[in-house]
Structures are given as structure tokens and as C-alpha cells.
């Protein structure tokens, strides 16, 4: 089975969809698109880019259309999770082997993509998480956010016994199994720790790789920067029920 996969990687290129959710990112999307094109191609991978405009109030959509960037424009604002899931559903319908999600605000540099591709080819995991804490390079986030990240790290370790250094990282790569699962289940806001827990509970192969992140490049930060405590409570509660549901069903 695994040998088949390896063979496939050698003979035929894997199809990768780069899903980039953006909400009010008119000043970031074009430079991001250009930096992605500079970082490609990568041997063994056919990479398509797909921006998801989550019903922005600014000119994001116009920028996407004017520059002929491949995108899906949502008619209603769905939140980051709903936007990413749109891309994942698209990938599932068009039989992509991998989905990479990266934020539209320039936090996730395109130069780091090659490490994802390499890890995918070499190890073939179900979920690859780009961690800014594995080698402590680049922007290390604010103190408040680091506290929140530490909390989720401890919670996931308590529930699954697995140590993940950056459970809230939105820079990740999903394999086929995770893509199919994420089509069914993907929370609307702050989805990263919940999806990670879901994958770990299901026994999916999760790998972390060191990446360098930047401070966001411009535009107005999404709602995720505010209401930290509210989201921590909401996500913890939802993770608790997810764990309970899994325990009751298995």
C-alpha cells in the first residue's frame, strides 16, 4: 500500500491545492500570489492556488478578479473555518491529493512551502503542521497568544498523550484522509486545535515541521485577534465534547 503511494509519487505528480482564505486582505493578496509563484514549481507536485474571498468589505475581490487570480467568492461571510472548508470541499471534488492552507495576510511565507512538499513526499502523513515553536525561528507571536497556545498544547497532550508544539498554527497540509474528514467536519471559527484533536483521536499520522512565520503584513487583523478568552472557552468546550463523543462511540 505504502509502496504504491511512493511509486505514484515518482511516476505521476501529486495534485496539491493551496487554499488561501482571505477576509479584507486587499493589500496582501497580490504580493502573496506573486511570492507563491516565485516559490514554485516543486518537483513531483502540481500545485494550484485557490483564494477564498470570505465576503470581504474591502476591494479584495476586485484585486482577485483584476489580476486573474483563481478564487472562489463566498456570497455570505462564513468565518475562517467555513472559508477554508470551501477550498477543502473543492479539492475533494477535483480529486486533489493534498491541500495546503495558508493565511491570506502574509504571516505564512511562501518560501516555507518546499518543506511541506518534502515532508509530504518523504513521510506521506495525513496532516502536516507548520510550527513556529519547533525551532523558535521568526515571529513568535504575542505573549497573550502564546499563553493561549500553551493552554491548547497542554489540553491536547492531556486528551491524546501527543505533544504538539503549535496546535493553533493555520499553516498546514492535509492528506487525502484528512481532506475527506474535513469535508464532513470543520468548525467555523478557530478551527485549528479542534481539527488537530480530531485527527489525533482518529489515529491519523500527524507530523510537525519547523517553519518561520512573520508578523502580519498589513490590513486589518481578523476577529481572531480579539475575544481571545471567549474563543478559548468556546474551543475548549467544543474539544471536550469532541473527546467525549469519540470516547462514547469507541
Amino acid at each position: 500500500m505504502d509502496a504504491d503511494k511512493g511509486l505514484k509519487n515518482n511516476i505521476q505528480d501529486s495534485k496539491v491545492l493551496l487554499v488561501i482564505p482571505c477576509y479584507n486582505e486587499e493589500s496582501n493578496v497580490l504580493s502573496l500570489y506573486e511570492s507563491i509563484q516565485k516559490a514554485l514549481p516543486f518537483a513531483g507536485m502540481v500545485v494550484d492556488v485557490l483564494f477564498i474571498d470570505d465576503c470581504s468589505n474591502d476591494k479584495t475581490r476586485d484585486v482577485l478578479i483584476e489580476n486573474d487570480m483563481p478564487h472562489i467568492a463566498l456570497a455570505v461571510n462564513l468565518g475562517i473555518g467555513g472559508a477554508v472548508q470551501t477550498g477543502i470541499k473543492y479539492a475533494s471534488q477535483y480529486n486533489y491529493d493534498w491541500v495546503i492552507q495558508m493565511d491570506g495576510d502574509g504571516q505564512h511565507p511562501a518560501e516555507e512551502l518546499s518543506i511541506f512538499f518534502e515532508t509530504a513526499i518523504m513521510q506521506n502523513p495525513d496532516l502536516i503542521i507548520g510550527s513556529r515553536f519547533l525551532e523558535k525561528m521568526g515571529f513568535q507571536s504575542t505573549r497573550l497568544r502564546r499563553t493561549g497556545i500553551g493552554f491548547f498544547r497542554a489540553l491536547i497532550r492531556r486528551l491524546t498523550g501527543v505533544a504538539v508544539t503549535d496546535p493553533t498554527s493555520g499553516f498546514r497540509m492535509l492528506g487525502r484522509k484528512t481532506i475527506e474528514r474535513a469535508c464532513e467536519y470543520y468548525p467555523d471559527e478557530y478551527p485549528e486545535p479542534e481539527i488537530l484533536l480530531d485527527c489525533l483521536l482518529r489515529g491519523f499520522k500527524v507530523r510537525e515541521i519547523p517553519v518561520e512565520m512573520k508578523e502580519r503584513q498589513g490590513g486589518i487583523s481578523s476577529i481572531r485577534s480579539f475575544f481571545q478568552v471567549y474563543y478559548m472557552m468556546k474551543v475548549s468546550l467544543s474539544m471536550f465534547f469532541q473527546y467525549l463523543r469519540f470516547r462514547l462511540n469507541n
Binding site: G82, T86, K89, D188
Partner: protein, 120 residues
Amino acid sequence: MEFTLELLSVSITLVLLFIVFRLILKGRLRAEYSIIWILCSAVLMIFSLWREGLDIIAGFLGIYYPPALLFLGAILATVVFLLHLSVVSSKFQNQIKDLTQEMGILKKKLEELGKGENEK
């Protein structure tokens, strides 16, 4: 005095029933949501006409002030109905999300088809 009170509660119940029926007839209230309102009206009607009933049940439950039983019932019914509405709105939110995503993907497919046509 007793009779006036009975008349008042019966007419309030009738007005409530009338409004519910009218809303269903005009298609502004789905039949499944109207069940709870019809049941509520029925309970109100029973106790409007059979006033000793309230005293008997309250006495049986050890409630000293019988109208308090009515309040208890009303509050419980409200809480249950609000919970039901939260469930309904969660369902709607999911459906809207699925529809929006499906629509976005279809729009993209349509654009791609359009591009293909132009090139031919």
C-alpha cells in the same frame, strides 16, 4: 367576579389560538412549530374552565399558592421552546454554510466553463 375571570382567560386563550391558526393559514408559521402553541393554548383552556383542577394538582404537588403552578409551567415551557429554537437556528446555520460553499464552488465551475467557451 369568578365568572368575569373565567371569561377573560378563555378569551385570551381563544385569541392566542386564533392568531396561531391565522399564521398557519397564511403560511407564516410552519405546522411543526405550531404544535407547541396549540398545546399551550389547550392547557390554558383546560385550566381556564376547570379552575379547581389547578388547586387539586397544586395541592398534590405541595404548592401552597396554586397560580404559582401556572408560572412554573409557563417558565418551563418557555425554556424548552427557547432550547428548541437554538437547535433550529444551529441547523439553519449549518445549512446556510453548506449552501454558500456549494454556491461558491458552482460559481467557480461556471466561470471555468465560460472561459473554455471563449477560447474555442
